[in-house]
Symmetry: D4
Subunit: 245 residues, 8 copies
């Protein structure tokens, strides 16, 4: 119920002052005590509430997932360890767990928002888990996804071999650790928005992904923006918002 | 000339092997000695070559600008001090300098790529120069732009007053210094891609914009990506690539 | 015995010079060898000596707790692992362990210093352990506490739903990880002191809570001060000193 | 006009739907284009809108100050250089500029909210400008202030000489650079809330105040909270919110 | 054999040119392949070669210790885990392991270099392991040591109670984590050199001891120097060099 | 097939346009899905593709190694845990695992590119694993290697004892943790390129090798360059490229 | 007057209670309002109060210096710009300004505490100003000082040329920027305490002296302690406390 | 005079013991008081003593340069401001100042060590000053140098256009700011040693060149080593040592 309708109903006497005030602020929230499920999030932001499972107990994940299911919502959980998944899977028949991306999806029907595609590119084999988190998330949100892995700049011809396919996507997610140079190189070759995801892959002075993060923020290519280190989920969310325009 | 055409002409004998190889690599570059102007950049990346004037002498800026003008290219220079502008303006009649954003635009014809709008929001008055760099750039690239300034979260009702207008844009650029919280708040209220620009505004432990940068990278809202500190230009470029989809 | 009384007794011959000097410096300290219990701390600072259990052996915690109990002092231990608690609980019948906040309380009588309340708010579910450390500490010190969890700015209506309750508290503790924006938003909506607690919750470039810490220190809202990362205990102590004014 | 009144007036037909919606969000804001003055801030947060002059032009500061004066508001500007003040002072007869704290105050009547005092303590002589920013701000907000300067721990007897006076305040602001130890020492001697302000005073590895900031955040005294480096204004705001309880 | 003697013997024909050159560079070194024991270190630097056991295998520690014993050298190993000690103790009868400081000492005769004492002070109970590393090392090198633990500034009277004893030492080692303020306070009260050892004790923004390190480096007391975080051994070495003057 | 040959064959009609384009970009790449083996890397860069095993599963390492073996390539895997090696060793008879350097080498024939030698020097015993990674890599690439361990500057005569041998090498790799001073000292004594490898050995404020890294980057000796922390492999690669000149 | 004497006089009736209490805390302090001169500092800490002129106005420096002179104290001011000195020199006839070290000394009589010497060594020419601050301070405090400049490890024979002289000092101060290796090399060659002073000399990733600071803290030589970056004064103070033992 | 000769002369009675000892350590050093010129540096390290002019006065630079000229040494000064050059140029007729690289060269005869070339590549126009410092230094040392400027990865075809020329060099120096990706791309395309020089060019989160530095240290290409930020001189020195092999 939007604000205007709410006021109309109030004026028409269908709602008391207190009911109106309560509705004004509480709409779209389901209270679990330890969590407040944001039921209107998809309508408001284009992305539904998702369970970020890191730091939550198995019991908490289960309760939130079941409540969402009761509300006829699709469920996506990220950063879900295999151990926690095993504790809750009997309660969520039909949920699909992906050990590589550490995601669980429960979706009654696969949706596709449009014909555009999101291309996810990694620099190395070790970046694949982050890329898979992005791929699962983007797919869950209704996007066509295709992935191209291990085309880092140490052997740049591997990238050129696939550049045509990359250029045909509507949005490109580049996932890279170490020096993260792939984001700049791709950004200099395509005319589509590039979302760069630094990963914590590397050793020595990579400082948990800081080297790739700074590299991507300082990219000399001008159509590149960046999300947090290892944040495949966030990259997919923004790619989705772009793709559904 | 694209790769396939090049090879066809070679096969047809119109180009020698050496001419073909040279063309394969040198197309779209204009050599100035101290700089190589990337003439094919717009075709390739959707964004033309732009003069980043910081660290360049007045003479260098002038030479590049004139060469681009000779090539019938529009000219945008960023980070151009008023002092440098004054040294070169007599050579570039018709160029428009904006002292707030430190940009110079020479454009024969105003272009508009489509009806979509880019909304640029700032948290405070001090963030306006960065926002203006974004606004000038986005306008130069052919986008409709509107700006909403000084709606930071210390008085969040100022934001709510304008939220309807913000939600109608296709892309939103949020420019904020200090703690950068505005990006998360906006990201939680709209269903469009949000590009966050941290600024170096603030004092104490803001460390030249690091506080806002980290804040934005760690945003709890999921459709937010980030560009470099004070990089209004980069934000506008990505917003443009999104808007022209 | 205060300084003036001490000198009077000395002049009256009730104390020798040496006794006076000793008393001048040693009053209010109980020596355990590896630790010196600060018995006058509550009188001096308004907050009694508390056992910070991290880095102490079970034997050390037990000895300090028993000595305090012997001295008729209430006992609060923080950062106490369940493992250590299990080793000592038989010696401290009546002590209550809270596994969520990792605190142990031994208190003969629940005290309430006044009618004011301290409101503890978290941005997410994962911030609850830190909030609970604050809640247990504030309760132990004699304050009325109420908690509101999971009202982060990604769904800001959840906060507005409870803002009236928050505004009625005398002191507000905001516990948030990731970008820590909740502290600024709450600070901009209430006329009471806000104590912000950054948490180490998050991933990527949050650097163990640094992102939330910097964000809170740079808050654009002007009534916000900050304690150390994850320091629910410290926030509760200051809230207590404020509430008992 | 509060929310309930607004709805009542709407129901009574005194306001149209559009007028109500507009009022719901725009109340308490005065639009200047480059700035939106938050007129309801004092009512909402206990602290009026203040002009943070760093990064604002003389013209902007003047316009905001005059508009506030027109609205019968007292005016406080911080981080105002003497140069900017000299450009605008003829327009603001009666305003008082303090070159040490770089503040300008225009206040028709000195107000005192209650009998409580705020004590401001510095470690050294070089910390005085930050302390003066706090003193001017706290006085402007209606608090009794007294200051004790240069009592750092290198000569700790200087502090003990004044400890009785410090203990009698309701709130204590400790301003210190270098290693910031004074905050912990004071915190261990008083039963009142201590707000620590790290300053950027020092040399070598103080990194612009980082050493004092980290020191204060890690204080072993439990009633200490911290504001940003050199942020005397913020400390005074929180001290004011505490003192007016 | 010193340089002059060496040359004399060469001139006298007792040594060939090659023997002289070899002797010039190889004197005082015992080659183990994976390690070169520096037999002349004590003569040269006043401190004998000590086994830093971190990162060495049990076999390596054993071989070095036995070789030193064969050379009639006393043996001190630091950072020796209990596990490694248990693997080698049967080969080193008479060695004494201290689990708190993680040191092993094999010494045929207790030596005392002079009557001066080194006083080791800690701020808290958790700093004791680092202090014990210093105490064992200083004792091994022949110094009288006495320790005063848990006198941090949160209860500064505990320090004053012992200040006379502290002032009587020739050198003072202050071991403190968290904000490290104790070093400045002690430094302001004594006329002897103070060596400050920051520890990694603390939580939140202490960054593995960085807060105490920066605090101590920025000490406002002027007779304080600093060694590395948790480096009790290094502090003891310098204290020894000072004490034996 | 090089570019010119490719175009000649195309002109001669031996290749279609599409075949030519495909060949232009795909030459020298073997696709495994999760990885793309860069078969032309040795020809292009002088260093063959090497398996960086960190973050790869045993199955991935095995598949890549077998494919390389099928292609008649020698195999080097670095950062290979003993655990992973044990899972795959039965499939790679003849492979040699080195537990100290965590490398696996499968090489049908030992090659030697020339008579020049690479000298690898360490400051301490704990730096040996990194040095061994360099030694195994340099040997695998066909270089003569000799190693000198434990000659750090705390006992600088140990270095002088071997300086003649060091000066005879063509390239010198200096591996050092802690303060990394050995690189500067060696750099000041030889007229050959010195490649410095900082290691993460040390404690306290070494910050995972940052102290040695910064020290080496700031070396006052002018012929020193640096690779990443603990990156023995990278140092050996550059030493090899230099040695084969 | 010491504590015991004070109490005796009180008992004897020579002092009232109030006089005693006042004396207990105020002894040895001279109040200037903006500063409190610590007159008992030399007696208490072995080092007199010194004027740290950075951040003080010419007027403040002058007032403190004159008051100290009135009290028959010698005066040392550090970090005194030539500009400030010129403003005050007419009031302090007899004061000696050293533009290299930026120090001013007013001393009625040169004192020498004993025959021991302090040796000050620099790595380069650019480190001399910091070394001179140490030299002036140590001389002012009554020590024999000799200096050896420009003996950094890039040409280590320059150091060996002077090592005998260095070894004869009682305390050695090593001043070095860039990688700071000189401290470790000297520390490995002498049996006297070495105080290392990192300087901010260098470029690139020296981060204002951080590289030398970390290098010195991580020194592999065991008798080295460190003071703050560029803190020649602090090094001299500790060297003085050591030398006067 | 080498060590062996020295000993022979001693044995032959041509040198006394004292003369021998003196010669052993003082050979090859010219004492100026504030500096010790290292005359044997070229023989020892392959690179002559060079004047690093930053932080030296005009008088010091002049004295060192003249002394070197007197010794028949060629002179190279780096980081020499135009202002200092103007003060000394009349004393050094024949010296050539390069304002772009801020270098001064006085060389009686141009030397060429061999036919190999050093190729210096920059990513952008703003990196040219650092590249020129490298070019002047390498030329001074006797190397053939050629430069290729402005071929950064935002327009990677500019690089490919010149890759043949780059591959023909013996050593390649890559100079790049911002994200520094060019080093990895070049490293992946050539079989010669690549020395990467990060520059401080860029804005926002480039932190004075840290982004490019970390990027280059973490390069996925394996033949790349790194020198300090903006250190064109150091890169040229190592390139020279490699080229003269």
């Amino acid at each position: 119920m939007d604000l205007k309708t709410l006021l109309e109903q109030y004026k028409a006497g269908k709602l008391s002052v207190d009911e109106t005030l309560q509705a004004l602020s509480s709409s779209g929230m389901d209270e679990l005590g330890f969590a407040k499920i944001d039921l209107s999030r998809e309508e408001r932001t284009g992305i539904p509430e998702v369970i970020y499972a890191a730091g939550k107990t198995a019991e908490q994940v289960e309760k939130i997932a079941l409540r969402m299911k009761d509300q006829k919502k699709d469920v996506l959980a990220t950063r879900l360890t295999e151990d926690v998944y095993n504790q809750i899977k009997s309660k969520l028949p039909g949920a699909v767990y992906n050990p590589l991306s550490k995601t669980m999806v429960y979706q009654t029907e696969k949706k596709i928002i449009n014909q555009g595609t999101i291309c996810i590119v990694t620099a190395g084999t070790s970046d694949i888990p982050v890329a898979e988190e992005a791929a699962v998330t983007a797919g869950f949100l209704g996007n066509n996804v295709f992935t191209i892995y291990d085309v880092g700049v140490a052997g740049i011809h591997r990238l050129f071999h696939r550049i045509k396919a990359i250029r045909e996507a509507r949005v490109i997610i580049v996932v890279a650790g170490m020096e993260g140079a792939l984001a700049s190189v791709v950004g200099g070759l395509v005319d589509k928005p590039v979302i760069a995801v630094p990963t914590s892959i590397g050793y020595g002075a990579n400082f948990g992904g800081l080297s790739a993060l700074l590299s991507m923020l300082n990219s000399c290519a001008s159509g590149v923006s960046v999300v947090n280190i290892d944040n495949g989920f966030g990259a997919a969310c923004q790619a989705h918002l772009i793709n559904k325009l």
